[in-house]
């Protein structure tokens, strides 16, 4: 596997972890008890994300890695829709498609 491909996969992984971390923080806001468990899980996930993003920066230009990190908007929306049943309007879907398209342009 080339270093670039590994870097791109690490960015996708970082973005996915970010989505889960944000869902945890949102869960903590709605939880009536044991809020701190969700916050702790969220913070742990953020640490995992930092490790994965550091690995990506070792393999990619920061001008590639940073804008691609906007893929986290995509994962946050998908996880919020699937796990929290949050509604997603058409403007948001179009924004996400633009972000995915932009990330593909940068990665190739």
């Amino acid at each position: 596997m080339s270093a670039t491909l590994a870097g791109v996969l690490l960015i996708v992984l970082s973005s996915a972890i970010e989505g889960l971390a944000q869902v945890c923080l949102k869960q903590s806001a709605g939880a009536s008890s044991r809020k701190y468990r969700w916050i702790l899980l969220g913070v742990l996930l953020f640490i995992c994300e930092a490790v994965s993003y550091t690995g990506a920066l070792q393999r990619l230009d920061v001008s590639t890695a940073y804008p691609m990190g906007a893929l986290s908007f995509v994962s946050v929306t998908l996880f919020a829709r699937w796990m929290l049943n949050e509604p997603v309007d058409s403007r948001r879907w179009s924004g996400l498609i633009l972000i995915i398209f932009g990330a593909i342009l940068i990665a190739t």
């Binding site: 920061v62 948001r92 990330a103």
Partner: protein, 135 residues
């Protein structure tokens, strides 16, 4: 009137600071990542991270960023503030070319523009505010 223009001024400073901290954080993170051993093994990397003092500077920068961001959100809606701070995609790109000699090809520039527009569109979607839960 005076206090209103004062908050406007503070908001502008806060947004500029947010973009600056975002940019500085990314550049420093890249610089730090390049000082780490390139081995794919996790533990030697973690060991190197703990021994790298720049990591502390980086964590301090993120702390400042968080405090400043929360301050900005006191003065402005997220949907207004977020697309403005996504200007940091442009500044990170410009400074990475200047400091690390990274090349900005046409495809990369077009991709960044797409992402910027996408973030702007997302910020235009209407928030659902749950009034029942906030009581």
């Amino acid at each position: 009137m005076e206090s209103r223009s004062k908050s406007k001024h503070r908001l502008a400073v806060g947004l500029a600071l947010a973009i600056t901290l975002d940019t500085a954080g990314q550049l420093l993170w890249k610089f730090t990542a390049d000082t780490l051993p390139s081995s794919a093994a996790l533990w030697p990397t973690v060991h190197a991270v703990l021994g790298q003092p720049l990591v502390l500077v980086l964590i301090a920068l993120f702390g400042c960023q968080l405090i400043n961001w929360l301050k900005v959100l006191e003065y402005a809606d997220l949907s207004y503030a977020q697309p403005i701070t996504s200007l940091s995609y442009v500044t990170v790109c410009a400074f990475s070319a200047f400091m690390f000699g990274e090349r900005i090809e046409l495809a990369k520039a077009a991709g960044i523009l797409c992402i910027f527009c996408g973030v702007w569109l997302i910020s235009q979607s209407k928030p659902r505010i749950d009034a029942q839960r906030s009581t």
